[in-house]
């Protein structure tokens, strides 16, 4: 059972890693002026909810399967995701707003955030991998 949980988490984590990389690539495309703000933001906004769901599922799964440490590790990031999503002003077009993204260094902070998430997901990836192997051995 535990192995299944971690296999799922591992897959989910892989998806999140890919998503983070995609965010970074798209944002740096915008930074280098390869795409315009409009298309960049519409691309990214599409993936904000999948990312949020993907991460929340893992977090909840960890809570359900009583892996406290991993749950607590995931909790801040999941909370941040949800907070960010909820706090989007009503007039904005999503977490990434094309009219704002070039202002006040938002692009940089989005970039930083994506980087941090990538690091976090990589850490999680190895943790899940380790836990999965451990679980399989224990089985």
């Amino acid at each position: 059972m535990e192995a299944v949980v971690f296999v799922f988490s591992l897959l989910d984590c892989c998806a999140l890693i890919f998503l983070s990389v995609y965010f970074i690539i798209t944002l740096s495309d915008l930074e280098c002026d390869y795409i315009n703000a409009r298309s960049c933001c519409s691309k990214l906004n599409k993936w904000v909810i999948p990312e949020l769901i993907g991460h929340t599922i893992v977090t909840v799964l960890m809570l359900v399967s009583l892996h406290w440490f991993i749950f607590l590790l995931n909790l801040p990031v999941a909370t941040w995701n949800i907070y960010r999503f909820i706090m989007v002003p009503s007039g904005n077009m999503g977490v990434f707003d094309p009219t704002e993204i070039h202002n006040r260094g938002q692009l940089k902070s989005h970039m930083k955030e994506a980087m941090v998430k990538l690091g976090f997901h990589l850490l999680c990836f190895f943790m899940y991998l380790y836990s999965m192997i451990l679980a399989l051995i224990n089985d």
Binding site: D33, N36, S90, G91, N92, M93, T99, H102, N103
Partner: protein, 1175 residues
Amino acid sequence: MQVPSGYGVHPQNYIPPSGHYPQGPGKMTSLPLDSQCGDYYSGLYTVPTQNVVTSNTANQQPGAQHMYGRGPPAPHIVGSTPGSFQGAASSTSHLHTSASQPYSPFVNHYSSPAMYSANSSVASQGFPSTCGHYAMSTVSNAAYPSVSYPSLPAGDPYGQQMFTSQNAPTVRPVRDNSFSGHSTAIGHPSPLPPPPSHQYHQQQSLSGCSTLSWSTSGLPSTQDNLVRNHTGTLATASSNPTNTVADSLSCPVTQNVQPLKSSPVVPTVLPGASSTRTPPAANRPVEPVASVTQPSELLQQKGVDSSSTTSSASPVPNSYDALEGGSYPDMLSSSASSPAPDPAPEPDPAPAPAPSAPQPSKMAKPFGYGYPALQPGYQNATAPLNSAVPPSSPGYSGFQPYAQYPGMNQLSSSLGGLSLQSSPQPESLRPVNLTQERNILPMTPVWAPVPNLNLDLRKLNCSPDSFRCTLTNIPQTQALLNKAKLPLGLLLHPFRDLTQLPVITSNTIVRCRSCRTYINPFVSFIDQRRWKCNLCYRVNDVPEEFMYNPLTRSYGEPHKRPEVQNSTVEFIASSDYMLRPPQPAVYLFVLDVSHNAVEAGYLTILCQSLLENLDKLPGDSRTRIGFMTFDSTIHFYNLQEGLSQPQMLIVSDIDDVFLPTPDSLLVNLYESKELIKDLLNALPNMFTNTRETHSALGPALQAAFKLMSPTGGRVSVFQTQLPSLGAGLLQSREDPNQRSSTKVVQHLGPATDFYKKLALDCSGQQTAVDLFLLSSQYSDLASLACISKYSAGCIYYYPSFHYTHNPSQAEKLQKDLKRYLTRKIGFEAVMRIRCTKGLSMHTFHGNFFVRSTDLLSLANISPDAGFAVQLSIEENLTDTSLVCFQTALLYTSSKGERRIRVHTLCLPVVSSLADVYAGVDVQAAVCLLANMAVDRSISSSLSDARDALVNAVVDSLSAYGSTVSNLQHSALIAPSSLKLFPLYVLALLKQKAFRTGTSTRLDDRVYAMCQIKCQPLVHLMKMIHPNLYRIDRLTDEGAIHVNDRVVPQPPLQKLSAEKLTREGAFLMDCGSVFYIWIGKSCDNNFIEDVLGYPNFASIPQKMTHLPELDTLSSERARSFITWLRDNRPLSPILHVVKDESPAKTEFFQHLIEDRTEAAFSYYEFLLHIQQQICK
């Protein structure tokens, strides 16, 4: 030689260049090259004057072509026709789209074989054409002598005068590059000048410090950035002084020299003088300085002229200059200017102990005084001065008091313990005790500070009306900027109406190859063939075409081209700058015709204005126009030519809007004019009986977008209520009970992203939406404004508009519409702002969409649009002494021309905090802060924004107090440059946008915020801090003459009720509205003469006009008001406010220095700040 061909201008156009040049494209149109040029060259160009040029041409062409991506690949040019003129000629011709045949006669006509060989030999050496790394100074110096400008063609048609004089055009002052610090003074033969000129120069530096700069000319020569190739035949008598004048002007004064200067010179401060000195006054000295330097310019020109080339034969009609008020006849300045930062002439170091006593006396002399002592050689030169600037000498005596400025400067610099290089307004650092200085506001309007550059650069610099920076001295590092706690940013008014603007038609627009900067006055020419970009420091080639100067009709003077002589120029762009053929002017009017709108009655006014101005709509023969109306349905009007009357097509499916007919909704203005007139005449009465109260604005906008998307253009939306149907419907969010809340102001942001999305769609299709909101109730401007904000439109708001009940608003709408319909317009525009490497832009303010990091997409650009940019310093600017900012606005004019308007601003870099404070442009800083505060209040909260504003004052003043002034800390000390900062910030806090505690409707507040975001600085400043004048005692003292009218200039009064006397009448200029307050016991003569009523009691409550009475005081008052009105784009409405009338609260709320229930008085605010600082 061949260059002119590239210029695409038939030189015959330039025979009277002064007449032709500034008049714009019409006169400077590129001529058909094929036939005329051929003729022309065969006829006129018999001999080249400079052969180097040709060789380089051949080499340069590939680069140039590559650069502009036009024409066939170039290399064959050099290879196939080795070094010959044929090669060069053909290569030039490739630059154009025309064939190369026309140039073939060329070869035959080059009949000077000596030239030819010299030229080809040089070519065979093969100058490295595009490499950017070799040491320029050596190359340039080597190159020059080696070619040595051999025999000059006597038969050159381009002005014998220029080339036939004894020496060659080599005496072009070649500017070495100061940034790289090469500055080899090789070509600098200047011996010490004779004493008379010394004396003369002292006269020059009138503002006082006139130190013995001459004797130090040996010293500066080591730092000299001018590498002048004097080929020796100069008449030494004239050339040397000239030269040294230039040196002393341009040698960078280093910090360590300063103390020397400040110590020996006794500060001659007149007691009491300081308090009367005001910033505008501080600016004044600049004028005399400028005019005084004229002799130097002239001298220089004379010197150069007599020896060599130049253009005095055909004075450059420097149109922009005329506009900006500098009055030198010929912008020769660039020949003397080096890009080195240069303090004004007064800071010349005096390494020798300068006798301090004689100096003041010299300063005080009128500068004509020294002339008799001049060397005979100079007499010539000074003569034109007097003729050219007659008013300067009489004017000078008037400025004598300012001669003490340097003394002031000494004082302040010694106070600060810092070597402040004397700034143009040396008193800008004078510490001001804010709590004790009662009359902080100057009597005259506050002008922008002049950057502390050398005179030549200063003259070339962009007008502060178009381009201002909050800090005219840019701090060297971000750390220094952080220490100063001042905002760094630019305020732009790029499409301002200019009376004169150099328009350049050129086939190649010269730009830096790596950063794409347009060539500008602040680039440095390493030699004649290469220039160094002042933004990225890349060395670029000068295209062959650029070597020819169409103004002087001379060759080989790239630095005299209009692009390099004017910091504001406009280029006619070629097809490279188009993504599609230039669009026609397209105007669509989307009109609300619901019951509410008909009730308000704006349609009558609009249709009337349109009918009147239909012919004045900017556009060409392709101009198209269309109309839509909407209530709960959308009505289109088929105006197809040939119909007997306009056809109305109604679309009631507002959930899925479609266009009833694909075309004929937007029709050609001229073909369907009769139908359009019919429609406009019929429209006001068409809906008089409507019962429809709903408004489907969203679907109407969607339809408009569909209609406009094939072409792009301008959509003018008139809306009178909250949109209540279809997409984009809005709910009322305002709680009237919260209007005067001191706590939270909600709903400053948009309620939905519908309008933003639509605006971005519009922007993508080059459509701008201008919103006219005429409503008496809340209509959620915060949401509606998005449609204009992001599509680069503009927003007009007429609260409680009614055509009969509110005649002043109706009149305002009428006047605004007139301006709106007839003003210039640019379509499908983009604006890019570039700045020197090391600086970066991070936030933009205004109405536009930021498409990529530094590219603003502007579907339309109007002359009334202002922008602001925040800057940060990413890399230290230690290795540069100047930074430049360039905005390039690429747009399609209403005539279907693609044009680029380029503004370049140059500012010095400073390393000390005191200098940063000395250069604060307080108005710009306040406007930038206002913009930032708007952002803050939308993204965070209003109270945050207010706190941030107060903190901005507290931080900057405490930073100043703790680091710069070491005076007692109990007092609130501000540098003179910042003395108005607290006042302006207080004014901002009491502005509609940011005030709390006073009842403010949400829409009014949001509109004020929109205004702050998109108004240019001058108008914004009036909105923030109105001007108050007393007008019952206007005199002609100090009056100015405008168009044969005498305009009195009453002094500014501070905005406090203490200034209002019951016996007086006061005019308050709030930008968009004028108030005339009439005191209760105002002189009956005034009331009768100006207002046309016998006494105070008979003045009506609502009075919006001054009658045209035939009395002197009426004439004065009216001419003053008209003058104020003419200075702004949108005509303000006039309210005559009687004391004790209910309308006076409107007036009194603008008296920002007074206390209100909810806000501090000015003095209290100062105390509050002081408290905060001491904390």
